[in-house]
């Protein structure tokens, strides 16, 4: 089902705006995300007061903190998605191209891993190896490649039935060259679409970890830890919860929209069934 979605353009524009703000605001703002200002605790959002989004329980400017949170969340989202895309593409392409017994082993492994409860595992990882920021990327990336592996395998199987692959094989092209030159380039569009869809999932995962107190170290903030801080103060100062929550939801919403549109445009085999 191919159709353009007008929502996708709006989503892309909104995302670009948030990314630009996340990059510029902390650099231009006179306030620091980490230094407490004891005289300005819980000053509510106001234009005249200099703090557009108000300040938190330590008097720090919420605008700057939210923008830092967006930076961290997007960074984790993109980096961890890259890890999962690399693993998923290699795994899926190898399985699809090799076929036979190797395919069976690789895909049964994916089946088995699908039944592994990942949230508990990442929590264990985080607790066991300390709250290392790099660990967050690796843990999340390492557990979220399964979908991509399945999709890539299916697509690789389809590509391998094409005549030009047969022709290349007849010419004696080596396997690694074959995968690199003839299979992978034809997967790029599809992978781009599903990678875009993987990013929001990863961002939510990181936010969940930060919410449980297992993500970034304070005073650094991710959107998840800001939501957690806001939830503690919500009775008297609901803006501390609502503003970061709104940013998180907007980012997720836009990425989902964008990914859906890319998938509709680039994946001819996908049917609109609400699963995505």
């Amino acid at each position: 089902m191919r159709r353009t979605r007008p929502g996708a353009l709006v989503a892309a524009a909104l995302l670009a705006l948030i990314v630009a703000a996340a990059l510029l605001v902390p650099a231009l703002s006179p306030y620091d995300y980490a230094t407490p200002v004891w005289t300005k605790i819980f000053s509510g959002p106001s234009v005249s007061g200099g703090h557009l989004f108000g300040t938190d329980s330590l008097g720090r400017d919420l605008l700057v903190r939210v923008m830092w949170g967006c930076r961290i969340s997007l960074l984790v989202g993109i980096a961890a998605s890259l890890i999962s895309v690399v693993i998923g593409v290699c795994w899926g392409a190898l399985a699809g191209y090799a076929g036979g017994r190797l395919d069976g082993v690789l895909m049964r492994t994916v089946d088995v891993l699908y039944a592994v409860p990942f949230i508990p595992f990442v929590i264990v990882l985080e607790v066991a190896f300390g709250r290392n920021f790099l660990m967050v990327f690796i843990a999340i990336g390492a557990v979220s490649w399964l979908d991509i592996a399945r999709i890539v395998r299916g697509q690789t199987l389809a590509i391998c039935e094409q005549e030009y692959i047969e022709a290349a094989r007849a010419l004696g092209v080596r396997t690694t060259t074959m995968i690199r030159r003839h299979v992978l380039p034809n997967l790029i569009g599809l992978v781009a679409a599903y990678a875009t869809l993987a990013i929001p999932g990863v961002i939510l995962f990181e936010a969940l970890l930060s919410f449980l107190g297992l993500g970034v170290h304070p005073p650094l903030a991710s959107l998840g830890s800001l939501v957690a801080e806001g939830a503690n103060e919500m009775q008297a100062n609901p803006y501390l919860l609502i503003i970061p929550a709104a940013f998180l939801a907007t980012i997720i919403l836009c990425l989902n929209r964008l990914g859906d549109a890319l998938r509709d445009a680039l994946d001819p085999r996908h049917e609109e069934d609400g699963h995505g």
Binding site: P120, V127, A128
Partner: protein
């Protein structure tokens, strides 16, 4: 059918073994032990504690002992709660999760199913676009955001419902956590049901039913509902698993004594047996749910039955 069931049960065993091994290896690879603390223990006491929990044995023996106990369904003694077995802790926590999870799933099915069916009868109208717009929002807002917001509105501002605590059997204490957990699944289910119902309503036999002059609600409920259930059933497997792990967050926010909180505190305190026990339980439940879903699928769709 029986062969299919046996085959699935046989693949469940290596899967569980992988989960159990991963959990064990991760915990034991990690630096620090469950009885490391700031105060230095007398070596004899340290030794007595370690030998009581078999921590002084070589790792492979601990692993074999652990697998042997697992095979008998015994998760071992808790390190943190003296004289309490992990089985007892899980038995205390599981009813809480079962109550919240089933209430959440019921809410999601009823709300999402009804919304999806109504939307499908008039695609493109406001009855379709308004709920589907809300559904996109529902999918994008995570549980750890909606849960505090629900508390803020319904408990702190309106004072309609309690904001936490757990009283077994009280629906007032159940409603907010279940709702928070249900919202994303309500949204997913509404979208799935809408898409499936639109497809079902486009089938020739529906045209025949319309031509006979049957009223819309009879067509939808009698003829379109069953094929609509198919994709919904395949979604229920991941949904059940998601509700299970999602309850970790809900329990944390509402302060409920379920196995999710048991797991998080267990992980923070290096309570090895609690962590491995709950992880294996999660894995077993997810495998069980998926098996159940496959069986439902075969039961609903005669074509699947014929193939297996």
């Amino acid at each position: 059918m029986l062969r299919f069931l046996l085959q699935r049960l046989l693949t469940a065993i290596p899967t569980l073994l992988v989960i159990a091994t991963l959990a064990f290896v991760l915990l034991h690879l990690a630096p620090g032990g469950p009885f490391d603390s700031d105060k230095v223990l007398v070596p004899q006491i340290q030794h007595a504690i370690e030998s009581r929990y078999h921590l002084d044995e070589p790792l492979w023996r601990q692993y074999l002992r652990y697998l042997g106990e697992l095979a008998r369904g015994d998760f071992g003694p808790s390190f943190q709660y003296r004289n309490t077995s992990v089985n007892e802790l899980i038995a205390q926590g599981l009813p809480v999760d079962a109550a919240i999870g089933s209430a959440a799933l019921l809410l999601a099915l009823l709300l999402g199913g009804a919304t999806g069916l109504v939307a499908a009868t008039r695609p493109g109208s406001w009855r379709d676009q308004l709920p589907m717009g809300l559904a996109v929002l529902g999918i994008s807002i995570p549980v750890f955001v909606t849960a505090p917001l629900l508390i803020l509105v319904f408990a702190m501002r309106l004072h309609w419902l309690p904001s936490g605590d757990w009283v077994a059997g009280s629906w007032r204490h159940l409603l907010l956590p279940a709702l928070a957990l249900a919202l994303p699944y309500t949204a997913y289910i509404a979208r799935i049901v809408r898409a499936a119902a639109i497809e079902a309503l486009g089938q020739p036999y529906i045209r025949t039913a319309r031509a006979k002059g049957l009223p819309t609600h009879v067509i939808v409920l009698r003829h379109a509902l069953r094929p609509t259930l198919m994709p919904l059933v395949s979604f229920l497997g991941p949904a059940l698993a998601g509700v299970l792990t999602g309850s970790i967050v809900v329990e944390q926010v509402f302060g409920l004594p379920g196995i999710g909180r048991l797991f998080v505190t267990g992980a923070l305190n290096r309570d090895y047996t609690v962590v491995t026990g709950v992880t294996v339980l999660y894995g077993a439940l997810i495998i069980g749910f998926n098996l159940l879903v496959d069986l439902c699928y075969a039961w609903l769709d005669p074509r699947v039955r014929a193939r297996t």
